[in-house]
Symmetry: C2
Amino acid sequence: MDVEQRQRHGRVRRLPRDVRERQILDAAVRVFSAHGYHNASMDEISEVAGVSKPMIYAYLGSKEDLFGACIRREATRLLEAVTAGIRVELGPDMQLWHGLRAFFRFVGEHRESWRVLHRQATSQGGPFSDEVVAMRARAIALVDALLVRTATKRGLDEQATRATEALAAALVGSAESLADWWLDHPDITDKMLASWLMNLVWMGFGDLVEGTQWIPSAE
Amino acid sequence: MDVEQRQRHGRVRRLPRDVRERQILDAAVRVFSAHGYHNASMDEISEVAGVSKPMIYAYLGSKEDLFGACIRREATRLLEAVTAGIRVELGPDMQLWHGLRAFFRFVGEHRESWRVLHRQATSQGGPFSDEVVAMRARAIALVDALLVRTATKRGLDEQATRATEALAAALVGSAESLADWWLDHPDITDKMLASWLMNLVWMGFGDLVEGTQWIPSAE
DNA sequence: CCTCCTGCCTACTGACGAGTAAGGCTACGT
DNA sequence: ACGTAGCCTTACTCGTCAGTAGGCAGGAGG
């Protein structure tokens, strides 16, 4: 009977709620990632999820709610991956280094998540952008904290500390942009990316051009 | 008679084509900037432009065409502003400095243009993104050329030159991100932004934290 | 064996918005 | 005076979804 129904509908039927929710979210991420928020239809998501449309509304709410849920889940995963990668006991440069590596590794392994987070979500002027803006702010705050710690550890000068938040924003943006660039140059390793960016922001062009290089102290 | 008609419709009637086209493009940029591509309706654009909808179709074509035209116009303005700001006779650091200043000045003076270019256009997976991707590629190429010139002027090492394009992408991204950050911190001057970013990418955190600073050589 | 709860579906509605048909008005050339 | 070209409008069509109404099935508890 169960088998019969699977054949009739090509679907597994009568699964517990949390399993269905995960399936739906997975499908939603894929579809949003592929077509963007507006061009993604609930019908397609339901089809990919192997579930009928009313189920989505019953479990995850409106399209906007669904999108928000996707963003929250993927952003949380990303932030967790990055924070997990950081070694707090090391110096600031090594912390940044490991954070960048974790970031690029995550993007490499979850391209769809990244597309949803970066491309789709940033753009839509709607209420969901709140979700992303908040997550992005958390990322910037993370970097900012690192910069502030670094600056205060040594004798900080007032000018520099006022700029840390802006610098953090710039750094996050450069990493995002580099991740996007990566999508068109897949033959690069995540380690190379992290290394380039590290040299750029830690050493600067000035040093770089003169041959000075930053190299991770103990791999 | 003319006055009567203005009162009746609240509109100036019977204007030459190129004037109307400009009005329509201006309105489109404002509406796209405010609501994003998908949430912007042709009806609203026509209303803001003070023109009926069929005029838009007659002059600028479909919604997609219209959006493309907006992007092209605004992106061209931006690139022209930046290239006009660059002083080719100066050293590479000063060139970057002036380029950055011109960029932030433009963004400050044309926030709506910037929103359309950066937020809306990057996101939509549609065919118009081609327009933006192309323009962004031109911007990256511009920076890349500067880096390559700088690297080859001194003794370049192979590793570094392979990375220039990526670094250019990162730099462009950081400038974009900083411009976005600026929207939430309007009490900052464009000069400060340019200076911070310049210090970040030219000197790096390493130097910055030790008190070394980059300062424009002759203002 | 009944019944009720819950997972699940088919089949709709209703709105919104892109794009168009068809024609009116005016200025200018002849 | 009379076309004719080009500016401009009102008032539609029609497709596409988001969201919903209402009902079927299968298992648990009486």
